[in-house]
Symmetry: C2
Subunit: 215 residues, 2 copies
C-alpha cells in the first residue's frame, strides 16, 4: 500500500470534529471506476458518481475540486498492483511487466480515463504533478529495479562511476520507461490491438537485440 500524497481522501491530521467517512471515500472511488466503464470519460458526471456512490454531490466536492482529480485518484490505485517478480533473466522480466501493464490497460476504466487525464494535464500543471506522483513514478520504479537486476546478472553493463555516470543512468531509465510504457499504451489505445504473449515476445526481442534481430 502506498501512502496518499495528495490527501484529498485522507482525514485532516489532528483535527477535531466529525471525521470524514472512509466508507464514503471507497464508495466514491468504486463508483467512479464503474461509471467510467459504463459511460466513458466524456459522459461521466459528478452527479452520476454521487448517485452511484449513494452520497450527496456536495460530499464529492469537499474532497476533489473537479472531475480530473477525482479520476486520477480513482485510477491510481490500480497501478499499485504492478510488480516485477524475478524471473531469472532480463527478457523474462520485461515480458512479465509488459503483460502486466498490458492487462492493466486493457481494463475499460483504465483505458478511457488515463489518456483523458493526460490530455487535460497538458493545460493543468497541478494535474500533471498529481499524475506524476500518483501513477508515473510508481511505474518508473519497476524500470529502475529491472535494470539493476540485469546489471547484477551481467546482462547489462554497469553504470559509469561519478556524476556523469549517474546522469546517463537517469536518462537511460527515462528512455527505457518511455519506450516500454509508450509502446504498450500506443498499441492498446491507438492501434486497438491486444498486448498478448506473442506481442510481448516480439517487443522484448526488439528491445534487447534491436531492429536487425526482428527478422
Amino acid at each position: 500500500m502506498v501512502a496518499r500524497m495528495h490527501d484529498s481522501t485522507s482525514p485532516r491530521k489532528g483535527r477535531t470534529g466529525r471525521p470524514r467517512s472512509a466508507e464514503a471515500d471507497r464508495a466514491i472511488l468504486d463508483a467512479t471506476r464503474a461509471a467510467l466503464v459504463d459511460l466513458g470519460w466524456g459522459k461521466l458526471t459528478m452527479g452520476e458518481v454521487a448517485a452511484r456512490a449513494g452520497v450527496a454531490k456536495t460530499t464529492l466536492y469537499r474532497r476533489w475540486a473537479n472531475k480530473n482529480e477525482l479520476v486520477v485518484d480513482a485510477v491510481a490505485v490500480l497501478f499499485d498492483e504492478l510488480e516485477l517478480p524475478d524471473r531469472g533473466c532480463l527478457k523474462s522480466d520485461i515480458e512479465g511487466v509488459v503483460l502486466q501493464f498490458g492487462a492493466l490497460l486493457a481494463r475499460p476504466e483504465t483505458k478511457t480515463a488515463l489518456m483523458a487525464v493526460v490530455a487535460e494535464s497538458t493545460t493543468d500543471n497541478a494535474l500533471r504533478e498529481r499524475i506524476r506522483s500518483a501513477i508515473v513514478d510508481r511505474q518508473k520504479r519497476l524500470v529502475v529495479l529491472g535494470r539493476e537486476r540485469a546489471q547484477q546478472r551481467g546482462e547489462l553493463p554497469p553504470d559509469s562511476p561519478g556524476a556523469e555516470g549517474a546522469l546517463a543512468a537517469t536518462q537511460a531509465v527515462g528512455l527505457i520507461f518511455d519506450v516500454i510504457a509508450g509502446a504498450i499504451v500506443h498499441r492498446t489505445l491507438v492501434s486497438s490491438e491486444p498486448v498478448d504473449p506473442a506481442w510481448a515476445h516480439s517487443f522484448s526481442t526488439l528491445l534487447l537485440t534491436g531492429l536487425v534481430g526482428l527478422g
Copy 2:
C-alpha cells in the same frame, strides 16, 4: 494534399443550391486549433469556436456532429506535413522522423487534442475509425517506407517470401510503429520532456542496437 475521407467538409457532389463556404471551413478549423491552444480540450466549446470563426453555431453543427469529430479534422491536417526524406542510412532516417513527429507533438494544439480524442475513441468506434484513417494510417506509411529503404540498402534483412512472410512483415511494421510513436507521445505528454536531437540519437541507438548498446 490528402483527400478527405470523411467528407464533413467537402461539398455534396453534384448538388444544386448554395454551396458550402470553403472559407467558413478554413475559418472553423483554424479557430478550433487556436481555441485548443488557449483553452485546452476540456474548456473548448462549440460556441467559442463559432464566435472565433465569425460563424453561426448552427453552421458548425451542419458539418460536424460533435466536438470530437471537429477536433479530429482540425488536427489531422497537421499530420500531412510529416515526410521521410532519404538521409542515406536507417539511423538518420529514424532520427529525422522522430524529430519531425516530436516537433509536431510539441505544439499545444496537437498535444492537448490528440490524447483527448484517443481517450474518447475508447468508447466510440466511429471516432476510432476516423482517427485511424485520418491520422494513424498516414503515419504508418512512413514506417513502411523507411523499412523498405533500409532493406534495399541491406541494413535490414528482407522479408521472407510467401504469405507467412508478409504476415510477419505486417506485424513488424505494427510493432515498430507502436514503439516509435508510443515512445514519442509518452515522452512528450507523460514525461513532459522535449524530443530533441540528443534524445532522438539515444532512442535510435536503442532501436537499432538494443538495450546493451545503450551503455
